[in-house]
C-alpha cells in the first residue's frame, strides 16, 4: 500500500507494474549513499516487497573526494516475489559523480535507467575520476536511458528558503536523489519523513532543508518530461505475520539477547572493535535493560579471555570479531575447548589474508575456525545463510554450546552482516526455552569431568558450596579433572572431546535438498545460499535435474550428508574462497566435487552460478 501525503501527491503519470527492480545508488563516500540505500530498503520492505540489499563501501572513512577509490555503493532489489539475493543486473543506476559512473555502469542492464547528477561532471570532477573526456558526451552511454539531472543546483534552489550554507545545502542532494527514486518507484515517503525528523531533531533548518530536497526530487520526477511513467512493484506473497526489515549484525544481536533470555543466562559480550563485526558490539551495548553486559576489551585476546571468565561464572558469554581477530583468539579458544565451557565465538568474515579487504565479503575463514588451533581441537561450527538467519543461528549455537559444554563458532560475513531483508518476527512464546542445569553438592565427591550421555561435563559455577574445583589448560584426568600426564588418559581425552563434537550431529537435524533428488547437486554454506538457491531453481525451471542443499552446520556435518552426496552424479560447491569446504568434503567423503570459486570481495551473481551449472551439464 502506498500512502502519499499532501506534500507528496500521487503521480498523475502512467504507472507500469513490474515484478521486481534492482537499483544501485553510487556516489562519493561522503554523499550519503548508504543512508539513501537504507531508506529505500526500509520503505520497500514496509510496502510489502521482499527485499535484499548489498551495501558496498570503501575501507577508508573519507577516501579522497571524487576518486574511484572513494565510491560508495548500495544495491537493493525489491520484488513482488520471494528473492534470495540483491539482484544481478541493474534496472536503474543513480550516480552522483563521474567516478561512480565509470566504476558501476557496466552492471547496468541494456536499456536500464541511468540517472546522473550532471552538476558534478566538471573538469575537476573528471580529473579526480581520472577521465580524459566527459562520459556524458559522445555515444558511450547509448545503450542506457541516460537522464541528466542538475541535482546540485536544483537542491540549492529548493533549500534556499532555509538560508543554510551552501556547504550544508549540497549535503542535502542525496535527499533530492531519494525523492526522485521514491517517485520513480512509487515508494512511501512517510518513514523517511519520520527518519528526518528524528535524525535532525534540534537542527530545524537542516531537517527542513532535507525535507525540501526530498520534495524537490519527487516533484522533479513528476514535472520533467524525462520520465514518461513510474513503476510499481506490488507486495510480495510473504507468509502471514508481522515483519521488520533487518540487517545481519542486528539480527545476530537480537538472536543473542533472545538466547540469553531463553536460557535465563545473562549475556556477556567481550569484544574489540573490528570491521565488519563492530555493529554487534554497538547493538548489544544498547540492550543493558535486557541484562546485557558489554566489555570493550584492550585487545582481541582479552575479549575472548574475558568471555571465558564470564562463562566460568555461569553467564552466556560471547566474543565477536572478524578474521584477524579470530586468529589472535586462537589460544584462548583452545583453552575454552579444554575447559569445556560453553561460549560463542562469532566470526564476521571479510577478505583476507592479514588486514585484507576489511569492508568486502569473503568465506575464507572456514579452514581457520575448523583447524586453526594447536593440538587436536575440534569445535562445532554453524554458519548463517542470510541476514535474518543470524537470529536463528545465535539461538541454535547457544543451545548446542550448553547442551554439549563446548565453545561454538558462528560464521557470518560482511555481505550478511550489512545486508538487509524482511524478517518475520517470531512470537517469543513459541521459541523453545534452553534448559540449563548447574549441579549442586550432593554429598559425593564432585568430579568436574564426569560426563553425561552427550559426553558433556557438568557446569558447576563459582558460588556453589561444596563444588570448588580447578580448571586449566593442562590435560585433565578423565572424571576428576586433575592435571594428568598419563599417556592413555591423554589419548582418551582427545578421543572423547572429538566424539563429543561428533555427537552434536544428533542435535542438528538432517540436511534437506531443494529441487531434484538426483543429477547435479549445488552444495553451499554461509552467505552464498541465496545465489545458489536462485541459480539452482532457475536451472530446474529450464527442466534440468538440479538440486540445492545448504549446510548450516559445518562441523559436524548433518548425518545424512554422505548419503545425499552419493545420490548425485555431479556435485558443485560454489564458495567465496579457493575451495575450503570442497577440501573438507573431499577428505571426508569419497566423492568427486567441482568447485566454483571467487575471491573478489563481492558476492556471487546468480548468473555466474547458472552459467557454471550449465557448463557442467553440457
Amino acid at each position: 500500500m502506498i500512502s502519499t501525503t499532501d506534500q507528496f501527491p500521487p503521480t498523475s503519470k502512467p504507472s507500469e507494474s513490474v515484478n521486481g527492480v534492482t537499483v544501485r545508488l553510487a556516489g562519493d563516500s561522503g554523499d550519503g549513499m548508504q543512508l539513501l540505500g537504507s531508506q529505500l530498503t526500509n520503505t520497500s520492505a514496509l510496502s510489502g516487497n521482499d527485499v535484499a540489499t548489498f551495501p558496498d563501501f570503501p575501507a577508508e572513512i573519507r577516501a579522497p573526494r571524487g576518486t574511484r577509490a572513494g565510491v560508495s555503493g548500495f544495491q537493493v532489489q525489491f520484488s513482488a516475489e520471494e528473492i534470495f539475493t540483491p539482484g544481478d543486473g541493474l534496472d536503474a543506476l543513480i550516480c552522483m559523480n563521474p567516478a561512480a559512473l565509470v566504476t558501476n555502469v557496466e552492471d547496468l542492464k541494456p536499456g536500464g535507467i541511468l540517472i546522473v547528477n550532471s552538476d558534478s561532471f566538471g573538469e575537476k570532477d573528471l580529473k579526480l575520476a581520472k577521465l580524459d573526456k566527459n562520459p556524458l558526451e559522445g555515444d558511450g552511454l547509448e545503450a542506457y536511458r541516460l537522464i541528466q539531472v542538475p541535482m546540485t543546483k536544483l537542491t540549492r534552489t529548493a533549500v534556499a528558503e532555509t538560508e543554510i550554507s551552501t556547504k550544508l545545502a549540497d549535503r542535502c542532494k542525496n535527499f533530492f536523489a531519494m525523492g526522485l527514486v521514491f517517485w520513480l518507484y512509487g515508494r512511501d515517503v512517510e518513514p523517511t519523513l519520520r527518519f528526518i525528523e528524528a535524525k535532525f531533531r534540534g537542527k530545524e533548518d537542516v531537517s527542513s532543508a532535507n525535507r525540501l530536497a526530498l520534495k524537490a526530487g519527487w516533484n522533479y520526477g513528476e514535472t520533467t518530461e524525462d520520465f514518461a511513467s513510474t513503476y510499481q512493484v506490488p507486495a510480495a506473497q510473504l507468509e502471514p505475520g508481522t515483519y521488520r526489515n533487518i540487517m545481519g549484525n542486528q539480527a545476530l544481536a537480537l538472536g543473542l539477547v533472545a538466547a540469553s533470555q531463553l536460557s535465563k543466562k545473562p549475556l556477556f559480550l567481550g569484544s574489540y572493535p573490528i570491521t565488519p563485526a563492530s555493529d554487534v558490539l554497538h547493538e548489544l551495548s544498547k540492550f543493558k535493560r535486557y541484562g546485557v553486559r558489554t566489555f570493550q576489551a584492550e585487545d582481541e585476546i582479552a575479549a575472548v579471555c574475558s568471555a571465558i571468565g564470564a562463562a566460568f561464572g555461569g553467564n552466556m558469554a560471547v566474543t565477536t570479531s572478524s578474521g584477524p581477530g579470530i586468529a589472535l583468539k586462537g589460544e584462548g579458544i583452545g583453552l575454552g575447548l579444554i575447559l569445556e565451557l560453553p561460549f560463542l565465538v562469532i566470526d564476521i568474515q571479510r577478505g583476507g589474508p592479514s588486514t585484507g579487504l576489511p569492508t568486502k565479503t569473503e568465506q575464507s575463514d572456514l579452514l581457520m575456525v575448523m583447524y586453526g588451533r594447536n593440538g587436536e581441537s575440534p569445535l562445532p561450527i554453524i554458519a548463517a545463510s542470510s541476514p535474518a538467519d543470524c537470529f536463528n543461528v545465535a539461538i541454535e549455537a547457544w543451545r548446542v554450546a550448553t547442551q554439549f559444554m563446548t565453545p561454538v563458532f558462528i560464521l557470518s560475513d560482511g555481505y550478511i552482516a550489512n545486508g538487509a531483508e524482511p524478517w518475520k518476527i517470531p512470537k517469543t512464546d513459541e521459541l523453545p526455552p534452553i534448559e540449563i542445569d548447574h549441579p549442586v553438592a550432593d554429598g559425593t565427591v564432585f568430579e568436574p569431568y564426569r560426563r553425561n550421555d552427550d559426553l558433556a561435563r557438568p557446569w558447576a559455577i563459582p558460588g556453589t558450596p561444596g563444588l570448588m574445583h580447578r580448571v586449566g589448560g593442562l590435560e585433565k584426568e578423565d572424571g576428576s579433572g586433575n592435571v594428568s600426564y598419563d599417556p592413555q588418559n591423554h589419548q582418551k581425552m582427545v578421543n572423547t572431546r572429538a566424539q563429543k563434537v561428533r555427537n552434536v550431529a544428533n542435535a542438528i537435524g538432517d540436511l534437506e535438498v531443494d529441487g531434484a533428488q538426483s543429477g547435479l547437486l549445488v552444495l553451499s554454506w554461509g552467505g552464498t545460499s541465496g545465489a545458489c538457491r536462485t541459480a539452482a531453481r532457475a536451472c530446474a525451471e529450464q527442466g534440468k535435474s538440479v538440486g540445492h542443499a545448504h549446510l548450516r552446520w559445518l562441523n559436524p556435518f548433518p548425518k545424512n550428508l554422505g548419503e545425499i552426496l552419493n545420490r548425485y552424479d555431479q556435485i558443485l560447491i560454489p564458495e567465496l574462497n579457493t575451495g575450503q569446504l570442497r577440501l573438507i568434503i573431499k577428505s571426508e567423503f569419497s566423492v568427486d566435487v567441482e568447485g566454483y570459486n571467487k575471491v573478489q570481495g563481492k558476492p556471487f551473481a546468480v548468473s555466474e552460478i547458472v552459467e557454471k551449472i550449465n557448463s557442467m551439464l553440457t
Binding site: T242, C305, S306, F312, R470, G473
Partner: protein
C-alpha cells in the same frame, strides 16, 4: 558480620593436590601466608576464585581449595575481568609472575589496573623464567647472565611498582616471600581494598636465580637495604639511624644524627597525587634502600561496580526489557 559462617582454618584452603614446586622455592611461603590470610576475611570458600596465567607461580590455583582457573600465558587479568564484571559478589585473585604479567601479559595488566576492576593481583617477582628453565625476564637486571643471555642481558628492566602506578593503580604494595608477617599484612590490605590491588612479592627462585633478593633478607644487610613504609611516618631505616629526605626533586639518604626526623620525607599512601608513590618506587638497591609496604591506596570507582550500575540504571529507568518488544522495535508491517 554474619554469625552462621563456618570458621575456616588455613588447612581448609588446601586442595587435595600435591604441591609440586621445587623444594626451597619462595612460592611455598606465599601459599602458606595466603592460607592464613583468607580465613580472616570471612569469605566462604565457594565465593573465592583464583585465576593464574602460565609459569611456576601460576600453578598456585591448583593448591587452593577454592574455585580456580589455570589459564593461558599472561591473560589472567582478562579472565578475571570477565568473571568479576559478571559476578561482582565473588572474591577474585590473580596470581602471576614477572614474565607472565610484565612480558606476554603487559597489556592486560595495564588495562585491568586502569579500569580498577576489583580484583587482587599478586605478582611473584623472581626476575627469571623458572618454568622454561632459566631465561632472563623483564625484571632481570642489565648484565644478568642466563641461558638466553650468555653475555649478559642487554634489556633494561621494568619496575613493577612504577608500571602499576603509571597504569593509574589505586592500590600498590610490595612484600617479600619469607617475611611472613609483612606479607600477611600486605595480602590482607590488598583483599580489603576496593579496586585493583597490585602486590609485588620478591620471591626467590632457588634453582635459576638463587639469592636475587638476599640483600633484602640477610640479617647483616637488610637493615640498610629495606625501607618499611608506614603511613604518616617518616622514611626511616638502618635501625632507626638513617632517613630519606628530599633535596629539590631528588631523594637523598641522611643520617639522623645530623638531621631532625621532621625534615625527612613522610609517607602518605592516600595522597591523591601519585608522585610520592612513584618517587618511592624508584628507590633501588644499591643506591637506596628498597621500600616494602603500601605505596599507594586511594579510592576510585571500580569497573565491576560501574558496568553493573549501568545495567541496573537502564533497567530502573526504562524497565526490564521484554524480548517481544525488542524483536518488534522499529518499523514493522503485517502480512495478512
Amino acid at each position: 558480620m554474619s554469625t552462621d559462617l563456618p570458621v575456616l582454618k588455613p588447612a581448609d584452603f588446601a586442595s587435595d593436590q600435591d604441591v609440586r614446586w621445587c623444594p626451597g622455592c619462595g612460592d611455598y611461603s606465599i601459599l602458606a601466608q595466603m592460607k592464613k590470610v583468607l580465613p580472616e576475611l570471612s569469605i566462604p570458600l565457594e565465593q573465592i576464585v583464583f585465576i593464574s596465567g602460565i609459569g611456576c607461580s601460576s600453578r598456585f590455583p591448583y593448591y587452593m581449595n577454592t574455585y580456580g582457573m589455570h589459564s593461558i600465558h599472561g591473560r589472567a587479568p582478562a579472565f578475571a575481568t570477565g568473571l568479576k564484571s559478571s559476578r561482582p559478589e565473588l572474591s577474585v585473585w590473580v596470581i602471576t609472575g614477572d614474565g607472565d604479567a610484565l612480558s606476554i601479559g603487559g597489556n592486560h595488566l595495564m588495562h585491568a589496573i586502569r579500569r580498577n576492576i576489583n580484583v587482587n593481583i599478586v605478582l611473584f617477582n623472581n626476575s627469571i623464567y623458572g618454568l622454561t628453565k632459566g631465561q632472563y625476564s623483564p625484571t632481570s637486571k642489565v648484565g644478568h647472565v642466563t641461558k638466553s643471555t650468555p653475555l649478559g642481558s642487554i634489556d633494561h628492566p621494568l619496575n613493577p611498582i612504577s608500571v602499576a602506578l603509571a597504569a593509574e593503580a589505586t592500590f600498590v604494595a610490595r612484600s617479600i616471600d619469607v617475611n611472613a608477617k609483612h606479607l600477611i599484612a600486605m595480602l590482607t590490605r590488598a583483599a580489603q581494598h576496593k579496586g585493583t590491588s597490585f602486590v609485588e612479592v620478591y620471591q626467590n627462585c632457588n634453582v635459576f636465580n638463587d639469592g636475587a633478593w638476599d640483600y633484602m633478607k640477610d640479617k647483616a644487610t637488610k637493615a640498610d637495604n629495606v625501607l618499611e613504609l608506614e603511613n604518616g611516618k617518616p622514611l626511616v631505616f638502618g635501625n632507626g639511624e638513617k632517613g630519606i629526605r628530599l633535596n629539590g626533586l631528588s631523594p637523598e639518604i641522611v643520617s639522623l644524627k645530623d638531621v631532625p626526623v621532621d625534615d625527612l620525607l613522610f609517607h602518605d599512601e592516600s595522597c591523591a597525587d601519585p608522585q610520592l608513590a612513584f618517587l618511592l618506587s624508584r628507590l633501588k638497591h644499591p643506591h637506596f634502600p628498597e621500600p616494602i609496604g603500601v605505596f599507594r591506596s586511594v579510592e576510585r570507582p571500580t569497573y565491576d561496580d560501574e558496568i553493573n550500575r549501568q545495567v541496573s540504571h537502564a533497567t530502573n529507568e526504562q524497565g526490564k526489557g521484554q524480548l517481544s518488544d525488542l524483536l518488534s522495535s522499529g518499523d514493522t508491517w503485517t502480512v495478512e
